[in-house]
Subunit: 146 residues, 2 copies
Amino acid sequence: MTRWLESDEQRVWRAFLAATQRVQEELDRQLQRDSGMPHTYYVVLAMLSEAEGRTLRMSDLAGRVNSSQSRLSHAVARLEERGWVRRAQCPRDKRGNLAILTDAGFAALKAAAPGHVEAVRQVLFDPLTPEQVRLLGEICTAVRDS
Amino acid sequence: MTRWLESDEQRVWRAFLAATQRVQEELDRQLQRDSGMPHTYYVVLAMLSEAEGRTLRMSDLAGRVNSSQSRLSHAVARLEERGWVRRAQCPRDKRGNLAILTDAGFAALKAAAPGHVEAVRQVLFDPLTPEQVRLLGEICTAVRDS
DNA sequence: CGCAGTTACTTGAGCTCTCAAGTACTGTAA
DNA sequence: TTACAGTACTTGAGAGCTCAAGTAACTGCG
């Protein structure tokens, strides 16, 4: 008994796919082109920059960037190679690793931020009315938390 | 003069990222697990199945699935290996290639569809009211076409 | 204490995606 | 008619992601 999509649901679904893909690709392209990093790496740097001591445990960081531990582990390995993040052992729990944003990493984030924010505005906020932005927030929260 | 995000825009933006990632991952995981194909391949099969003669030119197909030609070319190559799609030369334009959905491809799509549609409902439509669905459609259309 | 069972994280293989470069054909205009 | 720019598509290399498996350390219960 499959509950197939009605034709208007079908339209919403396809618009959703097209819109979200557009946003993703636009952001990834902009960051890659102008700052040499994918969007996921940017988010990692951003979350670390907001944390106490610019430091987070891997699992905590994974939660904040909506990433699997595996993905984050690979990402941090690359960021470490670039000297943007370093790792340290967690003192409390020897299984745990801390990811620490370096000064170079903070500088890279700072350099990338204006272009990124501008891209976010252009692709998502500028096309919408303030009311639509508010509604989108509610909708996304519902989907995220369901 | 960067137009930074206000704190409520910030919240909407992060909810948007979390929600869209959740949808994407849920769908990809479900299709990969239950049908052995990524979501992008499913969309390719679906678009071909709706086309006249289950056939489309590569460039036309790329437009319909919101894909670069390169990505589509790789994807169709894999689908061809599985026997789900075959290629033929375009009679009008010798540069052009046609992608044709095979019977096996149609069967694979048909087998995958119910589970996929159910996942789409669960992750996107069920958490929203009908009014929110309508609004989401308008919002995504605006973002897509901007 | 001791040893399952769980948690935290890493690693490697396989796969998809992107970007840049390459091939082949088409349309146009001198 | 023959260049020459543009279009259609493919290919290969490099990079990130996923999944499964591996290591190490903590936790709790007999």
